[in-house]
Point group: C2
Chain length 440, copies 2
């Protein structure tokens, strides 16, 4: 008998929230890395250290639009006594073989263009007459409109030190430097750096593919007509959105009827595209709790920890929960309760960290804060249960929103925090300090 | 002559960061609303108030797996003296026409199932013998395995008050209530509520489509070989990623050579899929600054504010900037400078708020904080310019990362904040308080 079966036989055991979470996180492993195009890797975790293959900038280049000159030629130059230089040509950005600058010469140069041989500094165009023979100019005329700007004479009105307005090769990063460490999350600036050093692809842990199934013969697709005794399916929408919010690629399968065989075959069909399966409903003690019925018998008893185990948590909402793995690849599965608030809270506490662990992230959890409880009455909580109430958080204060009922979905939509009432508290008075989970 | 042309003629005028931003935000209008499937509307802004068409729950229903009973039948029941009731059938979730519960009778009922006619309360299955004729049970056996559970007798061990474990119709929301206000951003809980009240689609402002073009004949696609005088294109990758991060659907066009006609026709091609165009490079005072050349002549002088205007900002990095609108739909265009750090900082300060304004969001800007400057030397800043330096922020302290050079892309990848040095400061000493923009 597997340990899972042993433990589930002990159906009176109440798992703590932390035990359940620890069990999940000790089972879920980061996904195998894959090579992705840079922009497909946004938000993903880098697997290897990346070193710089080529120094940046790769060559000495100009930081200004101006003229590349020799220092001696502009020494002592002023507007009254300008240095007059022969313009030997243009050096545009991307120039492969720039013109040489000899004594008494200047090359018109653009920002980012390589410092041409012979030149020692750049004078900005604003320090010159731009070749027009009049006073200082504020810019160059477009090459296409005024090709003569690449020849003739230029008057330089100020001297320049050696290397003035020159960005030295390797002044940003040097070949061999560490560009990014393994474990870095790739946001826009990190993608910028990878592109700048020439990396077109990068090895990262991919976003997990999460399949969300809701179960229940009472569920109707939103937009369709609601028959007697039936309600709209909201969980599959909410959790698909929440999985995307957590970083996953999420697929919503929608409502599966309360029939164990249908559910089993639906799950088997979905395994092909799932790194993680999430179900809602059917995990409690009822006679139609088909998730429990369908999955309790699916265990792979040859593998430690395989199979799905159903347990009771010392938690409100969210007491009944299932967790385990199924299928040939031991795909992790979290079976959440069916009440909308229960399933959403369970997702935040258990599925979101699992998604982030699959991504290889180390920061798995929503931020938490301490807050002063506002409102005009005490919160009640059953002893021995950790309760998560919906709240609105602002500047160190949290106000309860709606009641404790796990069906109160309207209040959930007004909340931005969960108020945590610990196991040993039966009530919390207004003014007391509580822990809150910030839903962001 | 349009006011844009008048202002751009005054090329020595330095615009402040705030003036430029104000000009952008006074021009960019929220996109026209469209009806989207719920999950496609995630992160979007709701356009209309949504009222509740049908009360939730839509009918009285059970909050537990148990037995629906009449209060008088279980009055005074105990484990020693149980109430023995005839089980007249099951009421599963979704039952359209549940069995009637008469005196001396009970119906086995599942969580979420409608309270059957005649019943006044629900007793949880744990308060009964589950019909097995022995002690209290912890749950029901699956209907498929033990169909006899829907008949026979049940012993109830505890009394129940009227409405016990019954969720009243409308106790969550009532038909006609306001579900969500116009302007609400649709996250998972809001999507849950919309689904729960039966909304399959919703009218929102769509995500803007942002086309990112980098310009420069020196640019090489990452992964390809770098010739002399050339560098890798990083801006188009960084800004496409940043646009997605801001909420946009972003298309990366990549590097366009420094030729005004090519650029003009590329932009014209892209207009069809753009709500906003972003270019990098070619906006300064050089002879090859083709963005300026291509777009200065594209203005629609019949329309106030149409056409693209190039200006100098009292800002470092990011002094040269272009802004305006082009094409038959007056599509907004931001022309950013080409240095990687300049373009990224410009994106954060100007493009990100524009993207969010197009989405109809009211919270347009990155959060800001006050922080104590760490490090061992003073920050220098040119007088009259607002400087944005890269920094690493933790707990109210910020440490500069890298130098001020606008080509220092490696340092940018280590930063998570911009340190703001205001126009009137020329240096900031360690220990002083500074404003930081948190890049998140």
């Amino acid at each position: 008998m597997s340990s899972a079966a042993t433990r589930s036989a002990d159906s009176d055991h109440l798992w703590s929230v932390d035990e359940h979470l620890e069990d999940i996180l000790s089972t879920v492993r980061p996904l195998e890395p894959i090579e992705l195009q840079l922009l497909d890797a946004q938000g993903c975790v880098l697997v290897d250290d990346v070193t710089v293959p080529v120094s940046l900038p790769p060559f000495d280049n100009s930081s200004m639009d101006g003229y590349a000159v020799r220092v001696a030629d502009v020494a002592g130059a002023s507007e009254e006594f300008p240095a007059v230089l022969d313009v030997v040509g243009d050096v545009a950005a991307g120039a492969a073989d720039p013109v040489r600058v000899g004594p008494g010469q200047a090359a018109r140069i653009m920002t980012g263009a390589p410092l041409p041989p012979g030149a020692e500094a750049v004078v900005p165009v604003e320090w010159t007459d731009g070749g027009l023979g009049e006073g200082p100019v504020s810019g160059m005329r477009a090459r296409s409109l005024a090709p003569e700007g690449a020849a003739g004479h230029v008057r330089v009105h100020r001297p320049a030190e050696a290397r003035a307005h020159v960005r030295d090769k390797g002044s940003d990063v040097r070949a061999g430097d560490l560009a990014l460490e393994a474990g870095t999350i790739l946001g826009p600036p990190q993608i910028a750096l990878l592109a700048a050093i020439g990396r077109g692809t990068v090895r990262v842990r991919p976003r997990p593919r999460v399949v969300v199934l809701s179960t229940g013969s009472e569920l109707v697709q939103p937009g369709e007509e609601l028959g007697p005794g039936r309600i709209y399916d909201s969980n599959s929408f909410a959790l698909t959105a929440a999985a995307r919010d957590a970083g996953a690629i999420a697929y919503r399968v929608g409502a599966v009827a309360d029939d164990a065989e249908t559910l089993r075959s639906t799950i088997e069909d979905q395994l092909i595209r799932a790194d993680l399966l999430v179900t809602t409903g059917g995990v409690s003690v009822g006679a139609y709790d088909v998730v429990k019925e369908a999955l309790e018998s699916v265990g792979d008893e040859d593998v430690a920890g395989a199979g799905v185990e159903f347990r009771k948590l010392a938690m409100q909402p969210g007491k009944p929960q299932g967790f385990g793995s199924i299928g040939p690849d031991h795909t992790p599965l979290l079976a959440l309760p069916g009440n909308p608030v229960s399933s959403y809270v369970s997702f935040e506490l258990f599925v979101r960290p699992a998604v982030r662990a699959l991504m290889g992230l180390t920061d798995l959890h929503r931020p938490r804060a301490r807050a002063v409880l506002k409102g005009d009455r005490a919160l009640r909580s059953p002893k021995g249960r950790r309760q998560f109430l919906r709240g609105a958080y602002t500047d160190g204060e949290v106000t309860p929103v709606g009641g404790a009922g796990s069906h109160l979905i309207a209040a959930l939509a007004q909340a931005d925090a969960l108020i945590v009432v610990p196991e040993d508290a039966e009530s919390v008075e207004p003014g007391a300090e509580v822990e809150v989970v910030l839903l962001g």
